[in-house]
Amino acid sequence: MNVTVTDQLAQRSGLGPAELQDLLRRMIAARLFSSRCFSLQRQGRMGTMAPIDGAEALIVGAAAALDPATDWVLPQYREMHGLLRFGEEVLTTTVKYLRGDPAGGHFPAPIRIWPPQIALAAQIPQAVGLAWGMKLRREEGVVLVFFGDGATSEGDFYEGCNFAGVLDAPVIFLCNNNAWAISTPVRLQTRARSFAAKAEAFGFPGESVDGRDVLAVRDAVARARARAIAGGGPTLIEARSYRLGPHTTADDPGRYVPAAEIERERQRDPIDLFRRELEEAGLWNASFEEETRRDADARFDRALQAAEAATVRPDAFFDHVYDRPTARMERQRRELLEALSRDEIAAGGAGEPGGDRSGRPDRNRPE
């Protein structure tokens, strides 16, 4: 252990060695989980997924500043692999989600995470309402909502933030500015000086922070959280990062990302940066690394096994549209089950439903 460097790190972060190592472990594990899913997608065992690469520091850093017992997280769609601080089952649920299992939207209680959001920025006003409700109920805690640089161009971002300002809601708006929204660079997304500057439109603090620095993000979120809990209202935090992978499994960034840019950015990989810091401080070495990876692999295997073992009834989608299906839906359910039994008879046993599916899920490259 290099005492000077460790001291510096401790001073900067208020964290001891074990906590610092824990952050790095989570970052490494997050990327590994995400990569495993990426491979499974390539094997046709999962649907489209958005790799986490480059966002680990800001996700793990933000989660580290929250209290999983009182605080809620509303993700966009790129964060789940980094949120295991809220519970190991986050991983199983995420794997289910990416497999296309309806249970994948259900992070089991008491895990305070909402389902991933595909409609960009739609989760933002929802987060505001949740925070508003917690305030009304005098519950201590905050809501943190993730969204991308691209999502800030949606009306929902603006309406939600403006609403939160008026309500003094205890919510933290965390913008992952990873430089791209699919192929659209930030300069085509807005002319604002920064995403943090957008807070001027709402009348609450905005802060731009290095999203590659897990400690800086943790610190910014912790301060925003303290302010919110003290009744100080919302904060907008822009975490400047870079999307190191493709937008999703369906994307080909070679079409639009300059090769030099991605090369340069790889030199500032947030995991590498933090690993180097910890190595310099004597808090990390190859065996830590290996153990972390082995452990993460094993956890992923377990999650995958659990997810793949889960059965999904073909008529499951009727279950949670309403508290109770309508009479018409019950009639439809019967129709479905009849059709399935026709198929089974036709197939001479339990078979796939009739239809004309073919090929891998991504063949039409939805983003």
Partner: protein
Amino acid sequence: MAVMTMVQAINATLHEEMARDDRVVVFGQDVAKNGGVFRATEGLLDRFGAERVVDTPLSEAAIIGSAIGLAVAGMVPVAEIQFLGFTYQAFHQIAGQLARLRYRSDGRFTTPIVVRAPFGGGVRTPELHSDSIEAQFANCPGLKIAMPSSAADAKGLLAAAIRDPDPVLFLEPLRGYRAIRDDVPEGDLVVPLGQARTVRSGDDLVIIAWSYMVEVARRASVELEKEGIAARVLDLRTIVPLDVDAIREAVEACGRVVVVQEAPETAGFASEIVATIVDEAFYSLEAPVARVSAWDVPYPVGLLEDHYVPNVDRVVAAARRVLD
């Protein structure tokens, strides 16, 4: 029993429900201090205070979006959108989010939310204040849609909607706010969602309608009676859930059907009623079902609206046609 206008019944029910359940919060544009632009929320602020009755910014999407969050926090939100046409500004939060959170979360999060909004013609409003767009929401699974035609039903359905575990759009006919007056039972009154009501009996034909068109249908039935025609009037009350049994029974009993809607013809909810009848009671039909709808043009300006909204005359003419 007290005679009330529909808006009075709505106001009274909001008072009662807020008193009954302190998780109920009412919010929207101009609902607190001003008591709503139609006074539907009058007196709530004074009685229940500024935490539970809230004037919001002019952001329909954030009104619905925040209602979703509030519900997950354990509140029972009753949001007002000032006019149904402005739910368009929140369509993504309603159709894409409100309708689906239970589904998306595989049953973990529920949204016992009521969205109240007035709509409908006859009072010479500016653009987008009168549009009948219920069919557009009916095609969004996950929503329930209540459309009362009487003050008593406004009370009973609103209470049911507020107590319902699912999101309910509660659509109030502008023209009925003061023009509709009837006996409203005192005390607790809950009209279950999904039960149609026979407003008038008869078995020469059945006129199926909802919201203010029930009143038009009723008046048409009075006209028809003068010609010796006994028209049953069936008020759907909620279009989702749909009381398919009541429709089937009425069609089986009458054999001839007119469906009246205030929405434009093409893809209006009347089309669903016709299709449902074809599914359920085709062999009972003695004549083609007639639809009486607004025309396939956007809701018009004041000088023309009388030529647009279905009226008694057109319903009577349609009834004669199906009886021919």
